[in-house]
């Protein structure tokens, strides 16, 4: 491209009348290096557009913001202290304040034995159980004493 052609294209360019192809020609002219000294002052402009076209989005994601662990730890400790102090100072409720369900009275009369034979049988079973359990305790005691005595020998 001659200087005259470049100059004419520049006029079209600044008037907003140039085509994309003509603008590419201008860019090529100014970036090629062999520029007319009278037009050289426009070279940085086209160099700028070329450089701007080469900009790409950063591929690496930005590092995630680090959590201020020290601050978080300090806040956690302070929170724990507040909770402990709050629990310490809170008056415990008296037992009487807790609601307790009232037990229904048991009607034992319906379990009352009226038959003599049945009463005898129940009494006998109860006495037998009591006798067995009463004998069990001394047996265990005697056995353990015997083991202790043997161990002491």
């Amino acid at each position: 491209m001659t200087s005259a052609q470049a100059s004419a294209l520049l006029d079209r360019y600044f008037a907003g009348e140039s085509t994309l192809a003509e603008e590419a020609q201008l860019r090529h002219y100014f970036c090629a290096g062999d520029v007319d000294p009278d037009l050289a002052h426009y070279a940085p402009l086209f160099a700028y557009w070329t450089a701007a076209s080469d900009v790409t989005a950063p591929r690496k994601s930005r590092p995630a913001r680090r959590l201020p662990l020290r601050w978080l730890a300090a806040v956690a400790v302070a929170l724990a202290l507040v909770l402990v102090a709050n629990g310490w100072q809170r008056p415990t409720q008296p037992l009487s304040a807790f609601p307790i369900a009232e037990a229904k009275p048991v009607d034992w009369s319906k379990y009352e034995i009226t038959d003599q034979k049945e009463a005898y049988r129940v009494l006998r079973a109860a006495l037998k159980t009591a006798s067995t359990e009463l004998n069990r305790g001394p047996r265990i005691t005697v056995r353990e004493l015997r083991q202790a005595t043997e161990a002491l020998r």
Binding site: A15, G16, E23, P44, L45, A57
Partner: protein
């Protein structure tokens, strides 16, 4: 899902560049794209039925970026109010601080109104036709042409004022 993943891979850089153009901050731009991707995932079935899903994603990115920019401007205005008067953005100190010509041009472009900047970006960086830009920005093709003309003219004027061109 594969279709959606392929779509996102194909447009992700474009979405990021557009968001970056509007909000002019890499972290904010990433957040914008992330928001757009999350929202588009929730609407993936609807997107799959669209005629031009990339244009829809670009439009969504533009809206999201403008919303974020406005929120940031409101925040900045409050901060400036609290901090007192700021320096003129075109003070010699700031010019000297960005002596590199490309960053200088970048700063000048960022001075353009958001609409002009967006149209310029879509044309110059993404190489889009007027019709495609109109679809993304919801402007008419004629408006796109006018915005492009005004943007480039303004850019030329600002470049001359800054003694770059």
């Amino acid at each position: 899902m594969d279709h959606f993943t392929h779509l996102i891979h194909s447009v992700r850089d474009r979405l990021y560049r557009l968001a970056l153009r509007v909000v002019n901050d890499a972290d904010e731009a990433q957040d914008v794209v992330q928001d757009v991707l999350v929202k588009s995932w929730n609407k993936r079935e609807e997107i799959a039925r669209l005629d031009n899903p990339p244009a829809w994603l670009m439009r969504m990115t533009q809206h999201q970026a403008i919303d974020r920019l406005r929120a940031g401007q409101v925040r900045s205005a409050r901060e400036r109010e609290a901090a007192g008067p700021d320096l003129d953005p075109r003070t010699p100190y700031r010019l000297a601080a960005s002596s590199d010509s490309l960053s200088h041009i970048h700063r000048i472009i960022q001075q353009l109104p958001t609409d002009q900047r967006t149209v310029l970006h879509l044309r110059e960086v993404e190489g889009m036709e007027y019709r495609e830009i109109a679809e993304v920005t919801r402007l008419s093709p004629e408006q796109v042409k006018v915005y492009l003309h005004r943007g480039r003219t303004r850019l030329r004027t600002l470049l001359r004022q800054e003694n770059i061109a």
